[in-house]
């Protein structure tokens, strides 16, 4: 029992900065969304979808760190970068297309 408490405390200590960022970001996300008119729900969701494409950075790190003889890491990393790029590029372009229409009719 002592061990698990220590483990938990340790976890929070080691990751204290990241945990702070997580908690602040949660509240920030809630605040930002709270004020969105429903007209913009779809573009907002699409924009958020593009932003979580930031996972591509992890994919680039995986790919870049893969040893030349570790084919599993190479192939999976390659795939991950492609998928991440699709998420980022597709997400932002689709969002832009949606928002383009909102702009056009504002004469």
């Amino acid at each position: 029992m002592d061990n698990s408490v220590e483990l938990l405390l340790n976890f929070f200590y080691v990751y204290r900065e990241l945990i702070t960022i997580v908690i602040l970001s949660i509240f920030l996300g809630i605040e930002i969304i709270g004020s969105v008119p429903s007209v913009l729900h779809t573009p907002l969701m699409s924009g958020a979808n593009a932003i979580h494409g930031v996972v591509i950075i992890g994919a680039i790190i995986v790919m870049g760190k893969a040893e030349p003889d570790n084919y599993l890491a190479l192939v999976l990393g390659f795939l991950a970068v492609i998928l991440g790029t699709l998420n980022v590029v597709g997400g932002f372009v689709v969002t832009d297309r949606m928002l383009e229409m909102f702009k056009k009719k504002k004469k």
Partner: protein, 478 residues
């Protein structure tokens, strides 16, 4: 030096994401906000490629592979995003969301493998004989689970939205889903206490079960719940991305992921509220089940009254105020442009035309807004449910185009109805309601609509686009 620069780029990236999301919340700044976030993303990507060092100070390698993948992904992503039809946007968002989830899952698999092959690289939080009992393994497993669920779920949602996958459920599915979730979590905890060989097998077991869970999670959910599901899966992927950020101590991944996670969750909750259902209810996937349980709903029988094209044209032309209620049928028929034409034609005749937008009309939040915006309908004409409901008693004609469940008065009257309690548009309060439908098929909730049998309701059968075209011609010739 390089690492410091990279941290600053990440900080800027995080700020652009926050600004971008903030600006996306106002129509005037939305487009700029999207571009700002995209700029931050590009900076973060290239910063990582050229400036990243691991703990031992090594640069990244495999540049050819990285750039090849970036080029392929950019080409395919750009092309498909440009080519996709406006009505297919929800599918596309779901598909891209799945790609992000898969990306997060793969990162976790590779890193777990890497870690299991060289456990000495990372210090255990406790030197108590369980080298796998540490925060990093837990975070990697979490990223794997959430990413896989998001991927599998998004793929099913994508298939459902474009009609390739049908609703599917079997008795006891809720319990199976709960059981699966418990099994996945139990395996994850178990994995942290076993030896490396065993853990390796467990990684793939967790991966497989998470995929199955993702599929079963979305399978039974009916079309009416799709907005909620896509929104929820979107926030899942955000959390999965944040797990990657936690793993690498990467601030931009962390803020970006968590922002999307919390923002997506709020959006999901807003959607659930609009349908008067709890998030738990949606997650367990009971919608299909409950409506199948009581298929025979009383009250919804009687005569329907059809109306001719000519009568409709006359009725609309000589009204003072008309409210159009668009639904998924409008999207399917690609009738948004004709719909706008009808609106303009009527306005030329001095009729006041407005649109009533139900929050869950269509297949995702704001689906109708995007669709009508494509047809150049000014967004000041699109009124939300709370704004338009008090106006129905003073409305001469309501034209329902391809909407069903969102105008079903059973949600207010019939406590046994599966959609009872869901806020709906009070179209029955208008002087006349004309329902444009292809046939007498039920809506996505699979229930009868009493509205069609109301004495003040008239039915106009036919394909939305063709019917509206004829209607516009008819009105012009009057």
């Amino acid at each position: 030096m390089e690492t410091n620069l990279l941290e600053i780029i990440y900080l800027i990236g995080s700020i652009t994401f926050i600004l971008g999301l903030k600006m996306l919340s106002h129509p005037d700044t939305a487009r700029k906000g999207n571009l700002i976030a995209a700029g931050g993303m590009i900076a973060a990507i290239f910063g990582t490629i050229f400036l990243y060092h691991d703990v031992e100070g090594n640069n990244l390698g495999n540049y050819i592979w990285i750039f090849a993948a970036l080029i392929v992904g950019t080409g395919v992503g750009f092309y498909s995003a440009k080519k996709v039809q406006m009505t297919a946007m929800p599918e596309m968002v779901s598909l891209f969301n799945g790609m992000g989830g898969a990306c997060a899952a793969i990162i976790s698999i590779v890193e777990l493998n890497h870690f299991l092959h060289a456990p000495h690289l990372i210090e255990s939080l406790l030197t108590n004989g369980h080298p796998l009992l540490n925060g990093q393994v837990f975070i990697m497993a979490l990223g794997l689970i959430i990413g896989s669920v998001s991927f599998a779920g998004s793929m099913v949602a994508w298939g459902k939205l474009n009609g390739k996958v049908k609703d599917f459920s079997f008795p006891g599915q809720q319990f199976m889903n709960i059981g699966l979730m418990i099994a996945i979590l139990a395996l994850t905890v178990f994995m942290m206490f076993v030896d490396v060989e065993m853990a390796q097998i467990l990684v793939y077991a967790i991966f497989g079960l998470s995929l199955v869970y993702g599929i079963l999670f979305v399978f039974p959910i009916g079309g009416a719940d799709m907005p909620v599901v896509i929104s929820l899966l979107n926030s899942f992927t955000g959390v999965a991305a944040a797990c990657g950020g936690f793993l690498y101590g990467n601030s931009v991944m962390l803020t970006g992921g968590i922002l999307v996670g919390s923002a997506g969750t709020i959006l999901t909750i807003l959607m659930c509220k609009a349908m008067n259902r709890s998030l738990m209810n949606v997650i367990i996937g009971s919608f299909g089940g409950s409506s199948a349980a009581n298929p025979a709903l009383a009250g919804a029988t009687g005569d329907i009254r059809e109306i001719t094209m000519n009568d409709t044209a006359v009725l609309l032309s000589y009204s003072k105020s008309v409210v159009i209620v668009p639904g998924y049928g409008l999207a399917v028929a690609q009738a948004q442009h004709v719909c706008h034409e009808l609106e303009k034609t009527l306005e030329e005749k001095g009729v006041e035309v407005k649109y009533a937008i139900h929050p869950v009309a269509g297949r995702m939040p704001g689906h109708m807004n995007v669709l009508l915006a494509e047809a150049d309908v000014p967004y000041t004409k699109l009124l939300e449910m709370e704004e338009i409901n008090p106006e129905f008693p003073n409305t001469d004609v309501v034209l329902v185009i391809g909407a069903n469940d969102v105008v079903n008065p059973a949600a207010k009257r019939d406590p046994s109805s599966p959609i009872y309690g869901m806020p709906v548009l009070d179209v029955e309060l208008a002087a006349t309601t004309i329902v444009l439908k292809r046939g007498m098929a039920k809506g996505y909730a699979g229930i009868e609509n009493e509205l069609f049998y109301e004495p003040k309701t008239r039915m106009l059968f036919g394909d939305a686009k063709a019917t509206l075209q004829k209607l516009v011609a008819e009105i012009r010739s009057l």
